[in-house]
């Protein structure tokens, strides 16, 4: 019996102690007429040998194409040591560190994670993780609504340069609480949101705005004017929620340092809350997860923070040690008045991410981020050299860029091109037509440090071929109809 250690003799002994005749007797409080039948829709049990074979076959079915997809999940190199240590039984099979003395491994590591994440974001405080970047944004919004006592509107400005699935997720999670998510359109030339557009929306909404969300790099890979917008928000008593890709923060100005040019109030510099997905820091793409949501804030907001937080303290002998702290914010203490319902978080991925950051160091992350950027420039240069391919936006892009197919025939679409590229072993990028139909035939392409010269050349070559054959089919079709 898989995973059941009992011998017949032991079962007999145990039943005797219990005073029951059979295991079945132990269920005698369950109404007989409700008892479950054999679960036919579940296949019979398999041995590990059999299931290994099945899973190997299924894993093989997934594509091995070269990936130029980003849009919220990125293929980065992860040092082998990271997951070898992370999956050690002591991390893998431990519970939440409620018994602090028996969990110093997880607790110290989480404290180190918080330290690294605050260093990377230049924020004061980090929690121990949320589920993912999208749900983390939702919690950041809820947090802002609780924290911004000066605002009554519960209105959140949400530029459409923020990842669309993040916006959807935020909506799902906050909509029960009379919070209004107000979209701000982007500038179609730059690919960023401008202060003018933000102000316009503020005016439209009557002036009182609780918080403003700003994603850096934004969903199009473009860099937003974070300083200007942050200062403006603070001048208007609006909390600024940054959505970041933490890897890029090795090179880009971190949210804790945004603004400050206006010299309004020095203590007021920087985003108030920063969230984002930790995936680029050590989590494999893994079909979408597990990743983790990072969530940081200013010191003043710490008691509004959802999720677990680890603090450093001392033991009876005065020796350093670590505990879960500020638990009075959490559901298991505060119940209906908690800062969030979150309980289980993404601890193991945070474990990996911490080891990842320790091994990579600041320099490693900087080199990686810079390589992502440089590779994207290379890719874009090569792809836009192809006839009919244009870069859409003027703002500096980081490692993702929006490209347009100029003169694609009416009945052709980006999906067809992607399908043709896939046949050539290339996952060509993200089709923007669903979320941004106004961009026409547009594609979001991404490069990480993993995309070699060779990969980029292969993409350019494949795309050229695909467009060529498309054109010839078109020409053929034209001449046929002609």
């Amino acid at each position: 019996m898989p995973f059941i250690p009992h011998t017949d003799q032991e079962i007999t002994q145990m039943l005797a102690i219990i005073g029951a005749d059979s295991i079945e007797d132990l269920f005698d409080e369950i109404p007989a007429h409700l008892r479950a039948a054999v679960m036919q829709a579940i296949p019979p049990g398999m041995t590990e040998m059999e299931i290994s074979r099945l899973m190997q076959q299924r894993a093989e079915q997934n594509t091995k194409a070269v990936c130029f997809l980003g849009a919220g999940a990125y293929q980065h190199h992860i040092p082998a040591a990271v997951w070898e240590i992370t999956t050690r039984g002591e991390f893998y099979s431990a519970y939440t560190p409620y018994q602090a003395e028996a969990s110093q491994g997880t607790l110290q590591l989480t404290y180190e994670y918080q330290s690294m994440m605050t260093a990377l974001t230049a924020m004061d405080v980090s929690n121990a993780s949320m589920y993912d970047g999208a749900s983390s944004l939702a919690e950041a919004i809820l947090m802002a609504v609780r924290a911004n006592r000066k605002s009554k509107s519960r209105k959140i400005l949400l530029p459409t340069t923020v990842n669309p699935v993040y916006r959807q997720t935020a909506y799902t999670i906050v909509k029960g609480q009379q919070i209004e998510l107000v979209e701000v359109p982007y500038d179609q030339t730059t690919g960023t949101v401008t202060l003018d557009q933000i102000k316009q929306q503020q005016d439209k909404q009557g002036g009182d705005i609780t918080a403003l969300v700003l994603q850096q790099p934004n969903f199009f890979g473009c860099l937003e004017a974070v300083d200007e917008i942050t200062d403006w928000a603070h001048e208007n008593n609006i909390l600024l929620i940054a959505v970041i890709n933490p890897l890029t923060m090795a090179v880009l100005k971190p949210p804790g340092e945004w603004g400050g040019n206006a010299h309004v109030d020095n203590n007021n510099n920087g985003a108030d809350i920063a969230c984002g997905d930790g995936q680029p820091l050590g989590a494999p793409m893994s079909a979408g997860g597990p990743y983790y949501g990072l969530l940081c804030c200013k010191q003043a907001l710490v008691r509004q923070m959802p999720g677990r937080i680890v603090g450093r303290t001392k033991d009876l002998d005065g020796k350093e040690g670590f505990v879960l702290t500020l638990q009075a914010r959490e559901q298991h203490i505060r119940r209906s008045k908690a800062t969030s319902n979150i309980c289980t978080n993404q601890g193991l991925v945070v474990t990996a991410s911490t080891i990842h950051m320790a091994i990579m160091g600041a320099k490693g992350l900087e080199n990686t981020a810079a390589a992502c950027f440089a590779n994207n420039n290379k890719l874009v240069a090569q792809l836009t050299a192809i006839d009919g391919m244009e870069k859409v936006f003027s703002a500096t892009h980081f490692h993702e860029t929006v490209l347009q197919f100029d003169d694609l025939a009416e009945d052709n679409c980006v999906a067809d091109i992607l399908a043709a590229l896939m046949k050539k072993g290339i996952i060509g990028g993200y089709d923007l037509s669903l979320h941004y139909p106004e961009l026409g035939h547009a594609l979001l392409v991404c490069t990480t440090e993993m995309r070699s010269e060779e990969d980029i050349n292969a993409y350019a070559k494949a795309l050229q071929e695909v467009l060529c054959s498309l054109n010839s089919t078109q020409t053929a079709a034209l001449s046929e109809t002609a």
């Binding site: 898989p2 799902t172 090179v251 309980c343 950027f373």
Partner: protein, 493 residues
């Protein structure tokens, strides 16, 4: 010693990805970082050694018996890890076109189907990333259901006082108010109070069955009737599904929505706090509201051959859905592990889970009684867990459940859950799970008995515990007062 304290400025022992920094001069200077982030500068060996050593400061299932009530700390089969981490899965981008992602999607579809069968629900969504998010999805669906019927005033959620904290917290997050329902001494819900509580404002009732008191709610049919007749829906907090797997299905008990903590019943690892999965299942009438995405199967016939293919369902397909809960679909790596575990057990293994979890719990309960401990609920069957109350020991010897817990750590056992459920004073909630051998249970009971004896003769031993761990008892008050949440170079503790 913190990893930061192993750092030396300028060290760079582990070139992993590019060794040179590419130029970023194309980026406007005001958008660039000024100083490097103050991350530790350590060699790969230093990092490996540090984190390997840190890991050894943890208790875990792989090293200790871990009878943590309500947490279902069963063995996490290593094969589930190895197979979920096959490169074919790890390297799959979440936005890979469905056609190129069939292996993964097939697993997800099968998992949905198996969960339906195991729980008696009509459909499942794997989107929620933990139990609490599963609750969120479930409660939000209850709200969406009432709204879809124009039933806009159902804004009160009924929750027994024994419930987990996530239940009331979730209800509030979804915009409901909470009304607590008391529990009787025998562990059952006070059905008379419940009857008086329901009304046109009732959105539903959230119930854990077996309850967090470790007993099966015998009046479940009557309760379902009360709720349904009042126009409410019945929510099943599936954290304790392990107790009844294969024996009785929530769907058959009358529940309309359920979440299942796959990181409990289906043995995905707890990982020191996560990740988990709170897959959510519904009865027929709630299907349109399921969170996105879900996975559907299509069967096509080509030249007489059946072709199965799988694809994600999104907002287009499910316009009434409560929406997305995450950027992609929950925690696929966790879901794969649960899938593998279910295929291991198979249909015949499901029922064994409940049987042996229950056998172990009842055996330990009998042993506890035999050894002179007071049970929170006597005279009833334990489900997969049971509660000892140490109120007598606390009164007579001034030792607390916390003291017992810490002393157990010294003896090499993880402590049971303490002070939960809130209604039992000085309680230990003990859940052995089916994967532990009698040997472990007996060892634990011996330790507990020894501690009881120590409490009577030498309570100081308990107050001073733990003594054999990396640290002694930690000062939680100091932690909360002198907040130290991140390392700052030069600062002292």
């Amino acid at each position: 010693m913190l990893i930061f304290e192993h750092s030396s400025k300028g060290r760079n022992g582990a070139p992993q990805s590019p060794v040179e920094k590419a130029s970023v001069t194309d980026i406007p200077k005001n958008l660039l970082r000024k100083n490097s982030a103050a991350l530790p500068e350590v060699s790969e060996l230093q990092a490996v050694r540090h984190y390997t050593r840190l890991s050894r400061k943890n208790f875990s299932i792989d090293t200790e018996f871990y009878p943590l009530g309500s947490c279902t700390m069963k063995y996490n089969p290593r094969a589930c890890n190895t197979l979920a981490m096959l490169p074919g899965f790890l390297n799959a981008h979440p936005l890979t076109p469905d056609q190129q992602n069939q292996g993964f999607l097939a697993c997800m579809y099968d998992l949905q189907s198996m969960l339906c069968e195991a729980t008696g629900m009509a459909a499942f969504s794997l989107a929620p990333m933990a139990g609490a998010q599963g609750e969120f999805a479930g409660v939000a669906m209850i709200g969406a259901y009432h709204n879809s019927r124009g039933d806009f005033d159902r804004k009160e959620m009924l929750i027994p006082d024994a419930a987990h904290g996530t239940n009331p917290a979730t209800a509030v997050m979804c915009g409901f108010t909470v009304r607590e329902i008391p529990t009787l001494d025998n562990g059952d819900v006070d059905i008379e109070t419940l009857k008086q509580a329901v009304g046109p404002q009732t959105a539903g009732l959230m119930l854990t069955n077996p309850s967090t008191l470790g007993v099966f709610e015998r009046n479940i049919e009557a309760i379902a009737k009360v709720i349904h007749e009042a126009g409410g829906l019945l929510y099943y907090d599936g954290a304790n599904l392990n107790a009844i797997l294969g024996k009785i299905r929530p769907g058959d008990m009358g529940f309309d929505v359920i979440h299942s903590n796959l990181h409990k019943t289906f043995s995905t690892p707890h990982g020191g706090g996560g990740p988990g999965s709170g897959a959510v299942g519904v009865a027929e009438r709630l299907i349109p509201f399921l969170p996105l995405p879900t996975v559907a199967k299509e069967v096509t016939r080509e030249e007489g051959l059946e072709n199965e293919s799988y694809h994600y369902l999104t907002a287009k397909d499910c316009p009434q859905s409560i929406g997305r809960l995450s950027a992609f679909m929950g925690n696929p790596g966790v879901l794969l592990r649960a899938f593998i575990y279910m295929r291991f057990l198979g249909r015949e293994g499901m029922v064994r889970v409940a049987e042996f979890a229950t056998l172990n719990a009842n055996y330990m309960m009998a042993e506890a009684k035999r050894r002179g401990f007071t049970l929170a609920i006597d005279q009833r069957r334990a489900s997969h867990e049971f509660i000892i109350t140490l109120k007598n020991e606390a009164r007579d010897f001034h030792v607390s459940a916390m003291d017992f817990a810490k002393r157990l750590l010294d003896l090499g056992y993880h402590a049971p859950t303490t002070y939960f459920p809130l209604l039992v004073p000085e309680c230990l909630l003990i859940e052995p799970t089916e994967s532990e051998a009698k040997e472990a249970l007996d060892g634990f009971m011996d330790a507990l008995e020894q501690i009881k004896h120590e409490a009577e003769t030498n309570p100081e031993l308990l107050h001073a515990a733990p003594q054999t761990l990396p640290v002694k008892r930690l000062d939680e008050v100091r932690a909360a007062k002198q907040l130290d949440l991140a390392f700052k170079p030069g600062a002292s503790v």
